[in-house]
Amino acid sequence: MKYMIMTFGSAEAGLAAMGREWMLEMVQFMLKLDKDLRGSGELVDEHGLADGSQAKTVRFQNGIPVPTDGPFAESKESLVGYWIVDVENEERAIEIASRIVAFVKNPIEVRRVMDAPPDF
């Protein structure tokens, strides 16, 4: 089954709070995670997203689509990046997410990708 594992945050807060050592460790952590998920044959896709401050949201206003600056969510946190993994079961997806949470300390959303065959 496929799961999308999503991290949220903002570069602004991250850049202000994180020191040099943490940054170096973070890069090592991400490289290791990437290597492990590739090695186990579970990684389908992964991408980091450009910062939310660069985002545009297109809304339907007064009958027409109107683009505005900024991400959709009202909070400062927005989607930072995601992994799509093809794993045995939900427990394994949660295990991967837990490993990331233990490091980044921010909440992570785990969502099933709808790819189940129809029931009949």
């Binding site: 040099r20 910062d51 401050s53």
Partner: protein, 403 residues
């Protein structure tokens, strides 16, 4: 890295396609047929040995595929005539070189968008498979197949013919071809997004195609200039990032890792070209790259000379990116405050509003000027703006160093 068979196939691909288009008058179907012949050869030759005349083997197989294709498509336009034309004898080898050039012009047709020009050039002239091109651009194969097929359709509907552009258009059309090769190189050298800093396969392919083009039109100074620029830039590839993917800036690179063969070749090309033909932007950028490459240490870099070249470049092709580079050179010659003053002229420029490099350069100059708090803010701002993960990490680390 690549087998001799693959090298041979890529070299022959445009020649075979050119010959087939000449005989059939059909670009789209011929291109598919040649691609199939290349795939068949890549499968058979390693097992059964390379045929005595590889070019005619490919041409025979591709012709057969094309005939089959046209026969199977009933009610296809001018079907009978086309099949008849196919039986005409092959034109002599003398035209193979011209055909390759004609193909390049066709694939870089002005009616196509740059992503389509890139994809079609890599497939029809470069002999890469759709799967390889898709991998290089990090998109699904089906997407790339569709992009290529739409590009071919568009060329057809634009009424393009398989012929050299008239002399009056040649200069402009060549400029487009060079831009496409430059984009292929850049796509490989600094991936515009994603986590890998360089995709060497694309830079290697861009250099191969530029070298081929230079052999076809040795008298064109800008072709030599672009090839030199690619060689002199790619020469630093091994030194520009660490094994962990961290960017190493030019002044901190281990110069013993630079590729001296490529540097020699690039400098020799420039020496043959500069002063003999009208100077153009690729030659100027190559000359700047050569000055960096020939300095034994970063401290030995001849910045006044680089500044002079940027001033000429800005007159030849004015753009905010050139101004940005000139600001760096001015800072190296006259100090960071002089550089910052030049950056100030770019602040209101809409074209730079979403370009992180302006902020990154500002951060660097502020740091050199001792304005550490302002430098840190600029590094952070640049880190938020870039779409490249290695660059974001580099800029964030620079900010953290000043915290």
């Amino acid at each position: 890295m690549q087998s001799p068979i693959e090298d041979l196939l890529r070299e022959l691909a445009p020649q075979v396609l050119g010959a087939l288009v000449r005989r059939s008058g059909q670009f789209n179907d011929s291109e598919d047929a040649v691609q199939e012949a290349l795939v068949a050869a890549a499968r058979q030759w390693p097992r059964e040995g390379t045929p005595d005349n590889p070019r005619s083997w490919l041409l025979t197989v591709a012709s057969r595929r094309l005939t089959d294709q046209l026969r199977s498509e009933t009610a296809r336009r001018r079907r009978e005539e086309t099949v008849a034309v196919l039986e005409l004898p092959v034109q002599g080898d003398a035209s193979a070189q011209d055909d390759t050039l004609t193909l390049l012009f066709l694939c870089c047709h002005p009616s196509l968008s740059p992503p389509s020009q890139l994809a079609l050039t890599l497939r029809a002239v470069g002999g890469l498979t759709t799967a390889e091109i898709a991998r290089a651009f990090l998109v699904p194969e089906a997407t790339m197949a569709q992009r290529i097929s739409r590009a071919k359709e568009r060329i057809r509907s634009a009424g393009a013919t398989f012929a050299m552009p008239p002399a009056s258009e040649r200069h402009e059309r060549l400029r487009v071809v060079l831009h496409v090769l430059y984009l292929v190189f850049n796509e490989g050298y600094t991936t515009s997004s994603g986590s890998e800093l360089n995709r060497a396969d694309l830079t290697t392919e861009a250099i191969r195609l530029a070298r081929m083009l230079h052999q076809l039109v040795p008298e064109e100074g800008e072709v030599a200039g672009l090839l030199a620029l690619m060689l002199l830039t790619d020469a630093r590839r091994a030194a520009r990032s660490t094994a962990d993917g961290w960017i190493v800036p030019l002044d901190e690179q281990r110069r013993e890792l630079w590729n001296s063969d490529q540097i020699h070749e690039g400098v020799a090309l420039l020496t043959q070209t500069l002063g003999k033909v009208p100077v153009g932007p690729y030659q100027l950028q190559a000359a700047i790259a050569a000055i960096h490459d020939e300095a034994p240490t970063a401290g030995d870099t001849d910045w006044p000379q680089i500044l002079a070249l940027y001033e000429v470049l800005e007159r030849v092709t004015p753009s905010p990116v050139v101004t940005l580079n000139r600001a760096v050179a001015i800072a190296m010659v006259n100090g960071p405050l002089a550089g910052l003053a030049v950056l100030g002229t770019l602040d209101g420029d809409e074209r730079m509003a979403h370009n992180h490099r302006l902020e990154a350069v500002r951060a660097h100059l502020l740091e050199r000027a001792g304005e550490l708090a302002a430098a840190r803010d600029s590094y952070r701002k640049a880190a938020r703006m870039t779409a490249s993960i290695p660059e974001q990490r580099y800029l964030a680390l620079k900010a953290a160093n000043l915290a």
